[in-house]
């Protein structure tokens, strides 16, 4: 099922006034796609999910499942969650505490008044897929966090929903379990071929799970694209900062043109820009720009003399295969990833920026 949001807005009224949680969002999730909504808390991503589920009414805009309008404020159409046949998994699992695991999974089917034998088959099948067939007679309170999450997912897939909605389903699990569930979830989605909308604030989850990712900030979409597109070509500083396990380096910089060359001034150092990046920089209105470069595109060099930029190692973080260096350059700190671990605090180092991979943003 294809999901389409058109100019969707949601305002909440509270004692303190009006809050616009979702601002005029349009996006399309293709059939069988795993689509991730990524953003910090309060960016409206959960509200967006609730709007798709039918738990909230949009203030304006349309929601389409394939060609069916399920919500359209202009034509006063609003379908209930029941009519939309969506399934949802919540961060705190939301299992019914008074029901056994079997009855929890069977709940949506019982509400739809299926036959007893059909329910039994469907529940068994879902439980087998999630590997919880042995837990069917337990109460949710007897289960571990990971098992509860599996039950919640089984309840969601048991009736073959049109769209699968997940609201930070892994954030209550411990790190190791989160990783294995991530893989499992991805495989499950591929196998069941259900269009999936997944909300998270964890950029690793978004990068690993999503076919495409939308980054949200304050109710607006900053950028939509495949994880690699977002990582390699962030449209603005917010997107650049949000992705990447070691945060990107961001500096104020100044552009100076000399004859047919373009130089960029960063923290008192002058670096020449390679030819293939010139066009992009020439398009900027002001000379002041913001220069961003990911730690893996910063190469620390042990001889400080011959390098264009020189600094001193302040701090060293061992990450296993790689080492993250914090190098002070004048008043700034540059983060650099190095495959070598032969560094010492206080050591003078040179820095080479891989300019082909650098990002330039217009300053605000």
């Amino acid at each position: 099922m294809r999901l389409e949001l058109v100019n969707l807005s949601k305002k909440f009224r509270s004692m303190r006034g009006e809050v616009e949680a979702v601002k005029n969002i349009s996006l399309t999730v293709e059939e069988k796609e795993f689509f991730v909504l990524l953003g910090p808390s309060g960016c409206g991503k959960s509200t967006l999910l609730n709007l798709v589920a039918g738990l909230e009414r949009p203030t304006s805009g349309e929601i389409r499942f394939d060609s069916d309008l399920v919500a359209a404020t202009g034509r006063k159409i609003f379908r209930s969650p029941k009519e939309r046949n969506v399934a949802m998994v919540f961060q705190n699992y939301a299992l019914y505490p008074h029901l056994k695991v079997y009855d929890n999974i069977a709940f949506p089917l019982k509400i739809e008044k299926w036959d007893k034998s059909e329910i039994e088959n469907a529940v068994k099948k879902a439980a087998d897929i999630l590997g919880i067939a042995g837990l069917l007679n337990d109460k949710p309170s007897e289960l571990s966090g990971g098992q509860r999450q599996r039950v919640a997912i089984a309840r969601a897939i048991v009736r073959e929903p049109n769209i699968f909605l997940l609201d930070e389903p892994l954030s209550n699990l411990d790190a190791q379990l989160r990783m294995s569930m991530r893989t499992e979830l991805k495989n499950l989605q591929r196998r069941l071929e259900i269009t999936t909308l997944y909300v998270t604030h964890d950029q690793t989850e978004a990068m690993t799970l999503g076919d495409r990712v939308a980054i949200l900030k304050e109710g607006e979409i900053e950028q939509i694209g495949t994880p690699l597109e977002l990582y390699d070509k962030p449209r603005n500083i917010f997107v650049a900062r949000f992705l990447g396990s070691s945060p990107i380096n961001i500096f104020d910089a100044e552009i100076t043109a000399e004859e047919d060359k373009i130089f960029i001034r960063i923290a008192g150092n002058r670096i020449e820009l390679p030819h293939n990046r010139m066009e992009e920089v020439r398009g900027f209105k002001a000379d002041k720009v913001i220069f961003g470069i990911r730690p893996e595109d910063v190469e620390p060099q042990s001889d400080a003399e011959g390098s264009p930029v020189a600094g001193e190692i302040q701090d060293i973080e061992l990450l296993g295969r790689e080492t993250l260096l914090h190098i002070s350059v004048d008043d700034n700190t540059v983060r650099a990833l190095s495959e070598s671990s032969k560094w010492e605090i206080g050591q003078a180092v040179g820095i080479k920026f891989v300019m082909e991979k650098a990002h330039f943003f217009e300053s605000e």
Partner: protein, 267 residues
């Protein structure tokens, strides 16, 4: 020190019950009679239970029916209202809560005259209806407050999961909220039952004989034609009357405690 406090507390609380039991088993139930004269008997109990002219069993039946129906109806009504107040965006829903509280603080005496006229007009005097309706209204504010605060503690994700699973609002209430809140609902029913069971003034004014008269009024009117007070009968009747309440508490206790100690959503 703590043990001494417990003993003091318990003896203070249980002394009237002890006195009640002792008096009810006494052959010569006079106040301040010397302990040496005490003679054990079950006579008072058998007379209370079997003497038809006392109508005690009628009173007890009336009390249980009236209080039971009023408690269940009151709590059902209150749980629907509490669900609305705890869950929906209603303008002025806090006003409803405070209004209910304010109404419950009215002295009973201020409405009993009107109530008598109304019940006479309806032709319900000396019937169960005359008591059930006022009792429902009487236990409603208390039930509403207890249930609203309990429902508010149930995570909203449970409702949302239920809506997504295809429930209507009413089904969310009956299939999720009420079962999850069952311990609170049971204890509220019990509380409402005791409230209604102990009620005196409405029962005194709105009933006239054993067809509808409840136990508290019945016992109070036990005194004989010539003004003598049959303490033995009164105490035996009181002892029997506490039984249903004690039994109900014991039956519900296990479920109430099981519910309170069970993890709700997260572990």
């Amino acid at each position: 020190m703590i043990a001494a406090g417990v003993v003091l507390m318990l003896s203070f609380c249980l002394a009237p019950f002890f006195f009640m039991i002792v008096t009810s088993l006494s052959k010569n139930p006079e106040f301040l009679s010397p302990a040496a004269d005490y003679q054990f008997t079950l006579q008072n109990y058998s007379s209370v239970i079997f003497k038809e002219s006392l109508h005690f069993i009628d009173y007890l039946r009336n009390s249980i029916i009236v209080s039971g129906v009023a408690a269940v109806a009151g709590v059902l009504t209150a749980s629907i209202a509490a669900f609305a107040i705890a869950r929906f965006e209603l303008p002025g829903k806090m006003l409803v809560l405070f209004f209910a509280l304010a109404v419950s603080m009215f002295p009973q005496i201020s409405i009993v005259g009107y109530l008598f006229k109304f019940m006479t007009w309806m032709g319900w005097i000396n019937s169960y209806f005359a008591l059930i309706f006022p009792y429902v209204a009487w236990v409603l504010p208390l039930s509403l407050w207890i249930l609203t605060s309990y429902f508010s503690q149930i995570p909203k994700e449970l409702d949302r999961a239920a809506y997504v699973d295809g429930c209507s609002r009413l089904k969310v209430l009956t299939r999720v909220i009420m079962p999850v809140a069952m311990p609170a609902i049971l204890s509220t029913v019990l509380l409402a039952f005791i409230f209604a069971f102990n009620e005196f003034m409405f029962a005194l004014i709105l009933t006239s004989d054993h067809h509808a008269r409840t136990v508290p009024v019945g016992i109070a009117l036990f005194q004989g034609l010539h003004g003598e007070i049959p303490w033995g009968d009164i105490m035996a009747a009181s002892a029997v009357t506490t039984l249903p309440v004690v039994i109900l508490t014991i039956i519900f206790q296990r479920r109430i405690i099981a519910g309170l100690t069970r993890g709700a959503v997260k572990g």
